[in-house]
Subunit: 237 residues, 2 copies
Amino acid sequence: MNTKRHRMAADDRRSAILDAATTLLTDQPWEDVTVAGLLDAAGISKGGFYHHFTSKDDVLAEVVLRLSDASISAGEDSLSRCGGTAVERFSAFLAHSARWELSHAAKIAAIVRMAMMEGNGPLFVKLGEESARRCLPLFKALVRDGVAQDAFCVVDTDLTAELLMHIGRMRWPTFLGARRIFADGQRDAAWRMICDRVRVEEGLTNRLLGLESGTVTFPPLTEYWLVLDAEWQNEAP
Amino acid sequence: MNTKRHRMAADDRRSAILDAATTLLTDQPWEDVTVAGLLDAAGISKGGFYHHFTSKDDVLAEVVLRLSDASISAGEDSLSRCGGTAVERFSAFLAHSARWELSHAAKIAAIVRMAMMEGNGPLFVKLGEESARRCLPLFKALVRDGVAQDAFCVVDTDLTAELLMHIGRMRWPTFLGARRIFADGQRDAAWRMICDRVRVEEGLTNRLLGLESGTVTFPPLTEYWLVLDAEWQNEAP
């Protein structure tokens, strides 16, 4: 009984390591994280680590893909609960995705920051491709539904879905740039960067879907600012 | 005097190695190429290699970036000789780029094939990013000129340029897919894949530039087929 109480099940140990890694990731550079530090944070003995992961970077890969999968699930979930026209569903999906991403902004920003670091590119390429491969069907389904309902008028369903996903994924380097400016005390300039970026995305999304500007909508800009402002204020400079 | 005749200048030796690598690349998998084989093909003694390159992959990087730079120069060159409206200049640029790429199709296809091979991703990511970084200003200038002339109506100059470049770069995996189908004897299906891809690109290009479909034009489809058909016929299956 005692043994049972003190020993986590294999799945729980694995999850505990991933949770610890996700937290450590937002607090310190990944290169400073050690396997010992990971186990310590997860409250697990050393023997457990290599049963679950081959290396520290293997943990990172799982953290990134777990986050990406959670984002996809949240998107699918929101769609399954959302009726309405194709335009309404696409807008709801964008709103839900934006809210989900914003509520996980610290983790996403930490991952994007790492991906952009010198020498880290190759490590993240495969992860980025894998995450895109898993996410693309959701975008394709959304575009296809709108085309089937005669609501969207696209040049090509698959390439449009790919471009829409590409635009969304390129958002975070801009947000990261805004965060750097914010940290320099240029609050208004940071805010303008985010507003401009979201407006451009909204414009390009409607154009690619063959819609009048403003048809498919992103959530109000204030939502972005409320979350990011609160988060960035809390961060050490 | 004799020494001079037999010894290439340092720059020539470097070029000879790059030329030999470019040729070998289209004939055999890069993993089968050795430094000795490279030097042999270039007609150079071993001592010369490590003066110019740190490794075999360093040669590959130079081959890729040299090809990419040549493509950019050709594009800039064609624009400097081309007057007319922004739409005419953009069409001329697309025609010239397509012709340049088609006349270098074997090399480009070899590089794309390598980039898509398992395990090669990371090696090519940095090259792809560097090549994109060098190419982007040309696309931005073209879009900016059209906007300044009120000929293009874009959502955002920089992001539009980036998407247009992205679409063009994603063309080659499709062409490679067509080549595989062609090699299987499905000539008509391969041809349809290429036609569809070029039509979709033309449609998306005009849409992103805010133009009626068919305003900015790609070269006639027959040009693609004449070149690719001739090349693929010549290749070993």
